[in-house]
């Protein structure tokens, strides 16, 4: 009797384990379990009326739904960034639906995001991209990693699915548009690329009159590209590179790298990490009594999020102080839309990050605007319209170059530098947006 009960319990546990594994994997890699609750609060800038609109679907639901694929990190080390990307995109979708839907060719359509996971490895991204193809999305926005795009672009391009990358940053991705237009014309990037991000590092080194620098990055392809560009920029300005370390993704101990930095004593350290491994490095860096005094900046990454900074500081006080991030804006008036967007987003999520939320908001607007203008979801027609885009977004004035990259320049999409001091953020560059001068670590 005892044996029978024990056997039944054991069998139940085994079944639960197996079912749980399958279900858990499914839910972690699909958008089904991901729910984003948005209270869409649209504030009219310039002292106008404030209206709060709840999520209601009007007559738009009658027409066929427009599905926009959205691929980002739902699992792995960059889930925080992925969450912010979804927030921005979903906010745009809610705004469109609250306004009656996406109207073109005489009918209005509800818009929805088909959210899938790009994970930390390309095989997850491939599975997700195949799902989006099956779901017949009109376009795909997002992509956290360059590798994910390379792994999925053949399938997506062959099905003529427009891609609007908002995070994957390799210049090579959009250069394909120039070298093989007919195949890659559906590829666009809203957001910075490696060259633009590297330029923020260069801007920082010039800002502090650095004579030398040391670079450390995770051993990902995008980081190699970024550091390559940074090396070229700094060489042209006679800023000496004392070395670059690409740490394994699995690294937990950064004592060697930090010791090297202490030994070489550069004017500044430039880092590039996309997720939690960067937090481990920063904690260990800031715990070192010598290294912690050397200015440090990061090329993009998760450092634009106040919740990240607060989390770091709560675990290790001061670990996120005096760090600089080259990011896509921080509630500075890049366009007339930036501040109202940030105010609305902050009301819902208590912080605003243009580099994650703003860019993905813009990408949804760019794509839906193209559908509206073209009067169709036909990809070839969309490409023609996308190429003519000139839109004021939250992240800047969005105009695509011949390589389908948003123009990175003052007056268009510009990457300022921000500095965190005791949990507060300050824009320190460029001069026309700077709120205060850079403060060196004490």
């Amino acid at each position: 009797m005892k044996s029978a009960v024990s056997n039944i319990v054991t069998a139940a546990i085994v079944i639960v384990v197996l079912v749980g594994s399958v279900a858990g994997t499914y839910y972690a890699t699909s958008g089904q379990a991901q729910t984003v609750t948005i209270r869409s609060t649209i504030t009219q800038g310039g002292g106008g009326a404030t209206s709060t609109v709840t999520n209601t679907v009007t007559a738009a639901s009658q027409a066929a739904e427009i599905k926009i694929g959205f691929i980002t990190s739902l699992t792995g080390v960059a889930t925080d960034v992925g969450k912010q990307m979804i927030q921005g995109a979903q906010y745009a979708v809610d705004q469109i639906n609250n306004g009656g839907g996406l109207c073109y060719a005489g009918s209005c359509h509800k818009v929805s995001l088909d959210i899938v996971d790009n994970g930390d490895t390309t095989d997850i991204a491939v599975v997700s991209a195949n799902k989006l193809l099956q779901d017949q999305v009109v376009g795909v926005i997002g992509f956290l990693y360059t590798g994910s795009v390379f792994a999925t672009q053949t399938a997506l391009m062959s099905h003529k699915v427009p891609i609007l990358m908002t995070s994957a940053s390799a210049v090579q991705l959009t250069n394909q548009v120039l070298t093989n237009y007919s195949q890659f014309k559906y590829m666009f990037r809203v957001g910075s690329n490696d060259s633009g991000l590297a330029y923020t590092g260069f801007s920082f080194l010039q800002l502090i009159n650095a004579k030398s620098f040391y670079a450390i990055a995770e051993d990902f392809q995008y980081a190699h590209y970024e550091m390559g560009f940074l090396g070229n920029f700094t060489k042209s300005a006679n800023i000496q590179s004392l070395g670059v370390d690409f740490t394994p993704f699995s690294a937990t101990d950064y004592s060697s790298e930090i010791l090297k930095i202490v030994n070489l004593h550069p004017s500044a350290v430039v880092g590039s990490f996309s997720g939690d491994n960067g937090f481990a490095f920063l904690k260990q860096y800031k715990a070192d009594p010598v290294a912690s005094h050397i200015p440090i900046m990061f090329l993009g990454g998760p450092w634009g999020s106040k919740s990240t900074i607060d989390t770091l500081n709560s675990a290790q006080p001061g670990s996120a102080d005096y760090i600089v991030d080259g990011t896509l804006g921080w509630n500075i008036p890049l366009t007339k839309l930036t501040s109202p967007f940030c105010q609305a987003i902050e009301k819902t999520f208590s912080f605003c990050n243009i580099g994650t939320q703003g860019v993905n908001y813009d990408a949804v607007q760019v794509l839906t605007n193209a559908i509206r203008t073209a009067g169709t979801t036909d990809p070839d027609a969309l490409v023609k319209v996308l190429e003519q885009t000139d839109l004021a977004g939250a992240s800047g004035r969005l105009v695509f170059t011949a390589a389908h990259q948003v123009l990175l320049a003052p007056g268009f999409t510009q990457l300022p530098l921000i500095e965190w001091i005791k949990g507060s953020v300050y824009v320190i560059y460029p001069p026309n947006f700077a709120q205060q001068a850079y403060v060196r670590p004490p």
Binding site: L18, Y27, P248, E257, P289, A315, Q316
Partner: protein, 291 residues
């Protein structure tokens, strides 16, 4: 820094890193030595231990030291349950054990994600900062992790080699049939072993979480490190695991400094291959003679 000071610093860093690698691996070595089981869920138990520590210290506001002990106890319990209701049923079949423990690893990771979300969680440490002794910088959280690792490793070795229960564990590890003949409950020893192993994984996580990161998938890298250290030290050899952990730490740190970060993993693995070519059983592993 002078060359001598540099080398001294590297040795200190390597020893401290090695200590943490040792405690990461010793739990895995114990399971393999006693139960002859490759527990793929060990990394997930590491993650779970970290989240227990986070729950007690951050969510329930317990003091860090108390949180560490509570996490160890909770993890011990989980290990006992896993052995009693899962692994024990499939222990006779290696493939079944691997499949089951792999499934458990995924299940634990997904449960953590559902309960805590996939976001990075910060865990405050028991101790913060660094001290400088004779020009050598000692990171205090890492030093504490090293000290606790060494203390626990020694305690475990004393427990296994100097106590009655430890003696029973060794008999079970040597020959389960002989253990049965001697009236030793193999089932209870196995439960105890997996409980201790989980507790050690949790301890490693709780000590390292303040230094590193805590997120649901955090256990997979430690699993890899632990496996490499166990193989290098000799599967089932506790002393060998400690020595191997230290070797791993020193090689990792010296390589990272002199050759660059991208050479760290490959150099460590090359060293391990070289050792295993000379001693296939690992540093202190025993040669098993087949008749």
């Amino acid at each position: 820094m002078t060359d001598l000071a540099l080398i001294a610093q590297l040795i200190v860093n390597g020893l401290m890193a090695g200590g943490t690698y040792a405690i990461l691996a010793i739990g895995l070595s114990l399971i393999f030595g006693v139960m002859n089981v490759l527990n793929v869920s060990y990394g997930a138990l590491y993650a779970l231990g970290g989240y227990f520590g986070y729950t007690f210290s951050v969510l329930l506001g317990q003091p860090p030291l108390a949180s560490l002990f509570l996490a160890m106890i909770a993890s011990f319990g989980i290990g006992v349950l896993i052995e009693r209701f899962a692994i024990e049923r499939v222990k006779g079949n290696v493939n079944s054990v691997i499949l089951l423990t792999f499934g458990l690893a995924i299940l634990i990771e997904q449960l953590i994600t559902l309960i805590y979300s996939g976001s990075y969680q910060a865990v405050p440490g028991i101790i913060q900062g660094a001290i400088v002794i004779g020009g050598i910088t000692v990171n205090l959280p890492r030093f504490m992790a090293f000290v606790v690792s060494v203390a626990l490793s020694l305690l475990l070795i004393v427990f296994v080699y100097r106590t009655k229960i430890g003696s029973a564990i060794r008999v079970v590890a040597f020959d389960q049939e002989l253990a049965l003949l001697r009236g030793i409950s193999v089932r209870r020893i196995s439960m105890l072993t997996l409980g201790i192993s989980s507790m050690l994984a949790a301890t490693a996580a709780a000590l390292l979480a303040p230094l590193l990161s805590l997120y649901p998938a955090v256990g997979w890298n430690p699993l890899l490190i632990a496996f490499v250290v166990v193989v290098l030290g000799g599967m089932g050899s506790l002393g060998g695991t400690v020595i191997a952990g230290v070797i791993y730490g020193l090689v990792d740190v010296f390589t990272g400094f002199y050759l660059g970060s991208e050479w760290r993993q490959i150099t460590v693995l090359l060293v391990i291959v070289a050792v295993l070519l000379l001693r296939p059983q690992g540093i202190l592993g025993k040669v098993v003679e087949r008749v």
